[in-house]
């Protein structure tokens, strides 16, 4: 104790002597602070300033990975699509599948065997030849659970793929796709799949470089140079800032892409994205969530706003395992009481269409279904039939949703507030709003710890099954507790049905059952997509249902004319 105290004494003395030696010590402190600030300024000033890109896109939230097999969100897909190509690629105008790495293919008469012929002389961006082996490797990698590919199930349309994925296939057997020679690739499907060529254009099934992956494992996307198969190669990826792409001179269609250098900015805050765009720091906004939602009505009148329909539905899930929502009449009553027009006019304001079914209109192979519409008297009648006239005797229901930040997050809350009022005033149903942080929301939804839950779904490929498959009894995305043998049977029948018209009819019956009779989900609206770009500055972006816009088709205009392309070595 004593010795410690004397240490304190020494400290004090030291302090005293400093004091005497340096009179105006504060000023020195100022000097140090200013000096440090200056150093920092100089330090940051020395950062190499980036040369501007030919075109700058605002891509949205930070992509998780550049590995096409791991890409999940629309932001990931938009970054990986130009880097890695598959057997087919999307048409810039219609998004329909067109020859990609495969120059042509044959389909067997039963619609189950596809034989792809790869382009001769195709190489990686690093110069090595790209052969059919690479396709086989890439697809097996997607199916291998160790890879952790979120969309692995897309390949389950291939014979034996699911069994192999689950480890239920005796070892020498492989999924039914293989390279037959360096340029021929053959696939055998479980049943005829009209959208199989669309799947081949998805980044999940794109071709990835085996050598780099085997050398570096998980971190392979950080190898430099990164061997890519698509029209653009990676210049750099700075987290929370941007991904910069440069044209791949070894791409088979190297004459196609017009832009030399492209920036994809990671900006999640809508106000920031809009400010960057308005001040000319960005040329294209890719997403409606990246502009302040209150401005949409005004922005829609401008020539740089481009609205389009795409495959996305906003809907509500009902938890059918808990009373009173185990009664389909109650669920249907709630669904009928949702004034969808009010929501799209007041809240979303983007020209969305009120939804009467789950599958958006315009989906290929789809028969439009109108299973539900705003009808308050019918809703009241149904609720009374179920034994709750005017909502009497009904416990408060819990509405699960999530919000975060501004923009889309706030829209969820606003829709929740509207629903609460509609059901409260219209049916006498009390709704408790339960706003959870997103991961908690997902966990609660999976555990069926809710009554009604906010939901939305974006179609992966242009077919009703991308929506309807969700509610099969054993689908992990079902999350309603609803298991219906009839529904499963309808989908299975449709799957085996070779006649497109009859298949569409079966799918429509399934949708009617899901949304109408069983009312497991209450569709709210079909989303609108928005792009913002000045038509006199950017060309080559076309609206399509998949919201896919290949970078190689996009051009920069100056004064309404295409810009002279610079030679590849120009910078």
């Amino acid at each position: 104790m004593r010795s410690l105290r004397s240490a304190g004494g020494r400290l004090r003395k030291a302090g005293g002597s400093w004091n005497r030696q340096h009179g105006p010590e504060r000023r020195e402190g100022w000097g140090a602070a200013v000096g440090a600030g200056f150093l920092v300024l100089v330090g940051t000033g020395c950062l190499p300033t980036l040369p501007p890109a030919d075109l700058t896109f605002i891509n949205g939230a930070e992509p998780e990975s550049l590995d096409p097999a791991l890409a999940l969100s629309i932001e990931d897909l938009r970054v990986t699509q130009p880097l890695f190509e598959g057997l087919t690629r999307n048409d810039p105008v219609t998004a329909a599948p067109r020859p990609g790495l495969a120059e042509r293919w044959e389909i067997s008469p039963d619609g189950r065997t596809y034989t792809f012929h790869l382009r001769p002389g195709t190489v990686w961006s690093t110069g090595e030849p790209l052969t059919a082996d690479a396709v086989e490797f890439s697809w097996l990698r997607v199916l291998d659970p160790v890879t952790g590919a979120g969309y692995a199930s897309l390949l389950f349309v291939v014979e034996d793929a699911e069994a192999w994925h689950l480890g239920r296939l005796p070892p020498p057997a492989r999924p039914a796709f293989r390279a037959r020679g360096p340029r021929v690739f053959e696939v055998r499907l479980r049943h005829p799949t009209p959208y199989f060529l669309d799947l081949c254009a998805l980044p999940t099934l794109a071709v990835v470089p085996r050598a780099a992956i085997e050398r570096l494992g998980e971190a392979w996307t950080r190898s430099r140079p990164l061997p890519v198969s698509g029209p653009y190669q990676l210049e750099f990826w700075r987290l929370n800032d941007r991904v910069r792409l440069r044209k791949n001179p070894r791409y088979w269609d190297a004459a196609g892409p017009a832009l030399e250098v492209v920036d994809l900015l990671s900006v999640a805050h809508p106000g920031t994205a809009f400010n960057l765009y308005e001040t000319g720091h960005a040329d294209v906004i890719w997403d409606r969530n990246l502009v302040p939602p209150e401005l949409l009505d005004r922005l829609r009148a401008r020539p740089d706003c481009h609205r389009f329909d795409f495959l996305a539905t906003y809907f509500l899930r009902f938890n059918v395992t808990r009373p009173p929502l185990d009664d389909p009449r109650v669920r249907r009553a709630l669904s009928l009481a949702v004034d969808r027009r009010r929501i799209v006019e007041r809240i979303t304001r983007g020209g969305e269409q009120p939804a009467g079914g789950l599958v958006p209109p315009g989906t290929a192979h789809h028969q439009s279904v109108r299973a539900v519409a705003h009808d308050l008297p019918a809703a009241r009648r149904l609720l009374a039939e179920a034994g709750y006239p005017g909502g009497a005797g009904l416990r408060p229901l819990r509405y699960l949703y999530w919000t975060a930040g501004s923009g889309a997050g706030q829209e969820h809350a606003q829709i929740a507030v509207e629903l609460r009022a509609m059901w409260g005033e219209g049916l006498g149903v009390r709704l408790e709003l339960d706003n959870r942080e997103k991961r908690v929301f997902i966990a609660a939804q999976r555990a069926l710890d809710y009554d009604v839950s906010q939901s939305s779904w974006v179609g992966d490929y242009n077919d009703p099954t991308t929506f309807l498959d969700l509610f099969q009894s054993r689908n992990g995305n079902n999350r309603t507790g609803w298991a219906d043998a009839d529904y499963d049977a309808l989908l299975a029948q449709a799957q085996a049905e070779p006649d497109p018209a009859r298949r569409a009819g079966l799918l429509a019956r399934a949708e009617q059952r899901l949304v109408g009779e069983a009312a497991v989900v209450a569709p709210v609206y079909f989303s609108s997509g928005f792009h913002f770009y000045r038509p006199d500055r950017v060309a080559g972006i076309y609206p399509n249902l998949l919201d896919v816009h290949p970078l190689q088709a996009i051009r920069r205009l100056e004064g309404g004319k295409p810009v002279q392309r610079r030679p590849a070595s120009g910078r």
Binding site: G271, F274, L295, W402, G405, A421
Partner: protein, 304 residues
């Protein structure tokens, strides 16, 4: 330091407080605001959650502060929000005052090992990620609420959310106060008057209570006046992240966050920002002025 006066210290302080005009006005303003926040929502012809008008109506005679996206009356919501923010600020201030001052004073006065342990505890709490803490707290409380609900107790998940929020905010609001107070006490405890009291045989409790704490009044009030806005704004930050107050309820902070989202160069629904911001600013200003007056009034060195 001053001679014993005919008036009791409390009464003397009261007289001095009344003599400060700005403090007096500020105090009345605060009382008025609290009153409005309590009574206002009943006086207002609109419910805070009722869709009373068209969306985004500018201020008018019908809606003095305009309406929001749902057509709800902004003035009513500001008053209701002020009520909630006052509660949040009050809880933060009380915890800061109760735990923070005591913790810092004891640590600073005791010194040595006690000080080390207490201040390192503060450090540990300081570094815990509050965001995660609030997520966990709210989830745990929600679990309890679900169990009580199942047992038939009338509870509301919104209350669980509020409780989790308050505990989370409370857990961090007192830490800096403890540090500031300890720093002051470390210096005070070697002063002549404290040494004198000790020499006279006063116990540590008496010395802290009678001699040290009165000298801290200024700093404590100043820091308290910083804590209240910090806590209110922290709540709005959590609301912005979707962790704070639950819609359709409102707090000044969540209204402010909604208003801030309106700032853009094309078109501003300015009333959504100006009214909550104005209310918050006025309340905080009044709080600080009243705090200044209180500090002067309670200063042990000031002469009668």
């Amino acid at each position: 330091m001053s001679e014993p006066n005919a008036l009791s210290p409390g009464r003397r302080a009261w007289c001095r407080f009344r003599a400060r005009r700005s403090g007096w006005v500020a105090a009345w303003f605060l009382v008025g605001l609290v009153g409005l926040a309590v009574v206002g929502p009943w006086v207002s012809p609109y419910g805070p959650e009722a869709f009373a008008g068209a969306p985004f109506e500018p201020p008018s005679w019908r809606h003095w502060a305009g309406t929001d996206v749902h057509g709800r009356d902004v003035l009513t919501r500001v008053l209701v929000g002020a009520r909630l923010s006052l509660v949040v600020g009050m809880v933060g201030a009380l915890i800061s005052l109760g735990i923070g001052v005591l913790w810092g004073a004891v640590a600073g006065y005791a010194g040595g090992r006690v000080d080390a342990v207490m201040m390192r505890t503060v450090d540990v709490l300081y570094t815990l990620p509050t965001l995660v803490l609030v997520i966990v707290l709210v989830t745990v409380l929600n679990g309890w609420v679900a169990r009580w609900e199942a047992a038939g107790v009338p509870v509301n998940p919104a209350h669980a959310r509020l409780a989790g929020l308050l505990v989370g905010i409370g857990a961090v609001s007192w830490l800096t106060m403890a540090r500031v107070v300890r720093g002051e006490v470390l210096s005070l405890r070697r002063r002549a008057f404290v040494e004198a009291a000790r020499a006279l045989g006063a116990g540590p409790g008496r010395i802290l209570g009678r001699h040290v704490l009165p000298h801290l009044v200024g700093v404590v009030i100043a820091y308290l006046a910083l804590t209240v806005p910090a806590v209110v704004l922290y709540e709005s930050f959590l609301s912005f992240l979707g962790l704070g107050i639950q819609p359709p309820a409102a707090s000044l902070g969540s209204l402010l966050a909604a208003g801030a989202a309106q700032i853009n160069p094309l078109r501003m629904y300015w009333w959504l920002l100006v009214f909550p911001a104005g209310t918050l600013a006025a309340a905080l200003l009044a709080l600080n002025l009243a705090g200044d007056a209180l500090r002067d009034a309670l200063d042990p060195r000031a002469v009668g």
